[in-house]
Subunit: 725 residues, 2 copies
């Protein structure tokens, strides 16, 4: 019996746990006050057994099944898979997998990348619709069973074409004595291209606030904390300037609103966006001083279209007013390059910045409000005229129906819309999807058809908040929850030149390792080496002797599929050396300098890295769609849960007083993880003895495997974030 008036160990969702872990614990602990951390921990301490009960009950049933004499007699049948086309045996048909991987070729990817990056293709633009039609036509030609354009009407945001956005320094007479650039210098060869959208912060509020400027480093919680509590600088009513990096730009804006700022300017500091010893584009792959990072500044938390949270933005869908829209910032926001940033930064007063705030611009001027030299009474004015408007977007959805289980779906999806040319983001990924579709079509012409249904998606409006992928997920939520086996994301396929990077759900670890052992290393001098070996050599896990795989975070189109719907998901790309290369994403990220040429000249001249990524992504969907028994690994899941539980426990141990005050106990958490671990082990043992000629028995274990990931979602979501389930 419990007394409801006592504090008691809290119940939490596993999604919460994953979410918390995805936030990089050390940062989190610095950011939040101890109370806040403990209030989280207090909600966190118990992952109750019933998160695992799906699995455990499943186990009981499986046990019934295998102990039930009747059942072994159900099939006197051995011919199940010996059907005329002789495609599926115990494993995904190996020769076809080999053919499929081989079919994807660097030269083709190069060709696709070139073709898909000639013009800008911003979401909602005619060019992007044209591109959608082109992709539809080519996918049909490649041999998919069907390809459709699926429109939604979502809230997008564009600069006002007749009234450009910029930031000014205004003197005491009100004259604009300095204005930031209206556009980036256009790279060579693209001078005649029209419709290049200038750098802007999508969904910025309109406005012309004018005030003193305050520098807030990265605009993280801990930065504001330091500024306001340690340095005594009040940001309320000021315009603030933050450098890009460390956290999502939308969170910088949210933090700025929380401290009461009037507006926020974002700039790219060379410390975060330039690699040492590399020239700015076009002579190297660093960001030029005139380049700036576009991007949306929403706080959607997975809601999709801000006007239709939870529901697809169809023509007839009810839309909330702009006032009630999800995640729109209430203040003007604007991005600038570092050449312009220097001018603004010179016009501040106040104390000197902490050393670790100085960046490459050596912001030693001063960081707070005030008049720099007593004579300078200049202020900063933002001039922002960006408009929100409901706009039609188009996903391209292609299908290959499954031969045996058409009601099981494996999805390969990535976005098509780009801020400008999208040489890296997203077309390095879209070119890879294109090549996967071509290869699958080629195999079909040889008589292959996957056991399960394959869905290929070219999402629209990812850059505006993952809108295309989220609306489609909302449109088909029930069917996807019942039928989707896995979602593999295909955003940018390359962001560095070092090695492979994979983020995925733990149940995919084993398959990822298996596939990478079947792919060759793309690196020069590594002929005869597998991708696995090359990757392993460069990025070994700290926990075991295998390549490093990360948890899935958020920020790309898998979000609605993984975080909301609980579909096993993963992503793979070529990346930088995460131990030595400290710049955020890649230098030219979301600038006009993301061209075909930057990939062809610097990132992947042979296109073998993109080929390797294509084979990993392609190998994953092939195996997931074609293996009779789903290649998902519950034991890996159990190991990861143990690791997460220990991390949280270690974190909690740093707050012994609060642990005691709130009677926080980890017993139930560890007990639940242990139960899950035992069940997972038993499950896989029995899986080894499964009679794969028994179609219904195979379907039942596959259902258990498919629904494992769903068991970790909570329909109520996180507190205040109903779509993070």
């Amino acid at each position: 019996m419990n007394n409801p008036s006592q504090p008691r160990p809290a119940y939490i969702s596993h999604a919460l746990l994953l979410d918390l872990l995805a936030l990089q614990l050390p940062t989190l602990i610095q950011m939040a006050s101890e109370d806040k951390i403990i209030s989280w921990l207090c909600r966190l301490t118990v992952i109750t057994a019933f998160f695992f009960i799906g699995f455990i009950i499943g186990e009981q049933l499986l046990h019934y099944l295998s102990s039930c004499a009747d059942v072994s007699l159900i099939f006197g049948v051995t011919g199940w898979f010996a059907r005329p086309t002789t495609v599926n045996h115990g494993h995904a048909s190996k020769s076809f997998l080999h053919d499929f991987l081989d079919e994807m070729q660097a030269e083709n990817i190069k060709h696709h990348l070139r073709k898909l990056t000639r013009l800008p293709h911003l979401a909602g633009s005619q060019q992007n619709l044209d591109l959608a039609k082109q992709i539809r036509a080519e996918w049909m030609e490649f041999g998919l069973d069907s390809v459709e354009l699926v429109p939604y009407d979502v809230l997008l945001s564009y600069p006002n074409k007749t009234n450009p956005n910029y930031i000014s320094i205004v003197d005491h007479l009100g004259n604009e004595i300095f204005n930031t650039s209206l556009a980036e210098p256009v790279p060579e060869g693209y001078e005649d291209v029209t419709d290049i959208v200038p750098p802007y912060s999508a969904f910025s509020a309109k406005g012309q606030p004018e005030d003193e400027l305050v520098y807030v480093n990265y605009g993280r919680t801990e930065d504001f904390f330091k500024l306001e509590r340690e340095l005594g600088i009040n940001c309320s009513g000021k315009i603030i300037i933050a450098r890009y990096g460390k956290i999502f730009r939308g969170n910088k804006v949210k933090n700025a609103m929380l401290v009461g700022a009037k507006g926020i300017v974002l700039f790219s500091d060379p410390a975060d966006y330039c690699a040492d010893g590399v020239e700015p584009y076009p002579n190297g792959w660093n960001l030029p001083g005139g380049g700036a990072q576009r991007g949306n500044v929403l706080n959607l938390n997975g809601a999709g279209d801000p006007l239709t949270p939870g529901y697809p933005a169809k023509e007839y869908t009810y839309r909330s007013s702009l006032e009630d829209a999800v995640g729109l910032p209430k203040i003007p926001v604007h991005p600038i390059g570092y050449h312009d940033a220097v001018h603004l930064l010179q016009h501040m007063g106040g104390p000197l910045p902490p050393d670790n705030w100085k960046g490459a611009l050596n912001i030693s001027y001063r960081i707070g409000p005030g008049f720099m030299d007593g004579l300078n009474q200049n202020k900063v004015r933002m001039n922002i005229h960006t408009n929100n408007q409901v706009t039609r977007i188009y996903n391209v959805i292609g299908w290959i129906r499954g031969a045996v289980e058409p009601d099981r779906y494996v999805i390969l999806g990535g976005h098509r819309d780009a801020w400008v040319f999208g040489g890296i983001d997203p077309v390095s990924g879209a070119a890879v999807v294109h090549e996967s579709v071509r290869a699958a079509g080629k195999l079909m012409k040889k008589g292959w058809r996957p056991r399960r249904t394959l869905i290929f998606a070219s999402w629209d409006a990812e850059e505006f908040g993952l809108l295309g992928s989220t609306e489609w997920a909302e449109d088909h939520a029930r069917v996807l929850q019942e039928r989707a086996v896995a979602y593999i994301n295909a955003d940018s396929a390359i962001e560095g030149m070092y090695t492979l990077r994979v983020d995925c759900t733990p149940s995919l670890h084993t398959l990822v390792y298996d596939i990478t052992k079947k792919v060759s290393s793309p690196e020069e001098g590594e002929e005869g080496m597998t991708l696995y070996q090359s990757w392993h050599k460069r990025d070994n896990s700290t926990e075991r002797d295998a390549p490093w795989i990360s948890k899935l975070g958020s920020g790309s189109d898998f979000e609605a599929y993984f975080i909301r719907l609980g579909i096993a998901s993963g992503r793979a790309r070529y990346t930088k050396n995460r131990k030595t290369e400290r710049y955020s994403s890649y230098p030219v990220y979301h600038s006009v300098y993301e061209t075909y040429e930057i990939v062809e000249r610097f990132y992947d001249p042979s296109f073998r890295r993109l080929e390797a990524v294509a084979r990993v992504r392609g190998g994953l969907i092939f195996s997931l769609a074609d293996s009779p028994v789903l290649p998902l690994d519950c034991v890996e899941y159990a190991m990861s849960l143990t690791k997460y539980a220990n991390s949280i426990y270690q974190l909690a141990l740093k707050h012994p007083a609060a642990m005691e005050q709130y009677s926080v106990s980890f017993d139930s958490l560890f007990s639940a993880v242990e139960n899950f671990t035992v069940a997972a082990r038993d499950f896989h043992q029995r899986l080894d003895q499964l009679d794969t000629s028994n179609a219904l028995a195979v379907r039942m274990v596959n259902d258990q495997l498919m629904y494992l990931e769903r068991a970790f979602t909570d329909p109520l979501g996180l507190p205040g974030r109903p779509f993070y389930r």
Copy 2:
């Protein structure tokens, strides 16, 4: 393109639509102001096609399936169902169904009812735990594969044993000059029984408010509306008295709080709780003047345990404080019989009541606050000392594992806890479940085992807000959503002596008709007639030539399964003549007079009515568990949707101005219903041609059928009611 600033046709969930319809439209339209109705309608107008997309996409796939040459070759197998036990053929094994129905016998049900009603068995009491153990032991003996007690720790509410609840009339000196009874007169034969809980309103707030009394008829919205706006009587700060009936008592209390009342007294008016020409118990089955209706007065909206909404009330679950608990009333509430009510009603002043408020007590005194004759300065005082406390409850859960598809569940569940003896509510139902379990066990000894898993549940604490069933649903939500085929509810099996009453999801209509054609009429003089014929004769549908079947409302244990999880559900019981017998539920409802004898002497002396109900409920679960193709009917679903859509449209037409003002259009709704109708028809046509020897093909269509009901749930729930999905 849409302009977000315009009002536009609204998106609504189908659950909302069903919910609205379940509210009895004519009442609703009276109750709410026009604006409120229109704001609902405005949210209502569009059932978008994507509610049906699960089905429609499924259809496309089925089409692929049947058009895909490969698939017809998958099985060269005809021996699938010809396995040694030869149980399942194209339909649920008919001879076993016949045996199963025959096995359930009136005499046994009589015996169970007698045995299970000897002692009170209130939720949370030792007697109810003892009864749970007894049921577990008998179910094991009957032959179930496993039976377990599943405990939860939930918030219950009991009167204070040393400080009884009552209502007084207090004179101007503060003397209690009249007190209501502390208990009901105990029926003959039960004089020595201890632990009969006196009439009380569970979860009432404590308190001793004292003030003038105001009569509010049934305490519905429209009653308060009439009282306050037409008669000018202000209820704020008063104690109000309402008669039971028409709406759930918890809603009367909610309405009382909304008008600012200090407390509310509930009484049973003979007009609502006595049949004409019938004697009070024990000489007849009417409610005696000393009898009163117990019951909880929560507003849970499906949340289950008030302290753990959304999560199972395990030992380690986080519990909210009582202040944050769901649905607890903030004012004292108490129920009385009509003998006591007369005394209180004499002490009011104010205007005369409207004629239709007078009831059988002929409340012609006066209805408002005031001093009746100018000399009388008496007031009313409530003395309420009821305690809330977290208490352990026990569900009994029994399993028969499925022979072929152990991972598909069919559930027969009803509650065990009773306010006192539970002669009708719930034991008339529990005795029927008991007999079903016995019959199933008997068949298993003959070699039968159902194709799917059967789950039998004896829920606890239904009377306290459907707690046992809801907590178990919360505990197993994911597995149930993935695996549950249907839930059949087994609350009271009899509430009248006229004919059958069935409330169920439209997809079960056809099966209900089929089963009732296999059961004999229990009525004397109808030998040789089927239950279907007897029922049809007495209660023909207004819409077609078939017996009347209602929509499922709420108020019993199916709620979490149907409304929250979207599992196809139904209930069946013997009932009164709904056209002529106007009393609410049945006269002795929730009183001490619900004994074994009232059933044996009046409701069902031959026990053949309960036998018939047992065979209907049993036949439903048997067919659902054992038919190779699930006996669910999408075409019936489509017909019902058409009917609902028309009802809403007719309702809307009564408000043309508001329809215009909010640009309400029904086009999308009707178009979606039409699409669904076509898809349903096509599906059933193809179902007729299904090769039932193809195990995987059968499983795939069954999955479509099983998930159909889920497609009508929305994880976001109704506005403000997250568990009504």
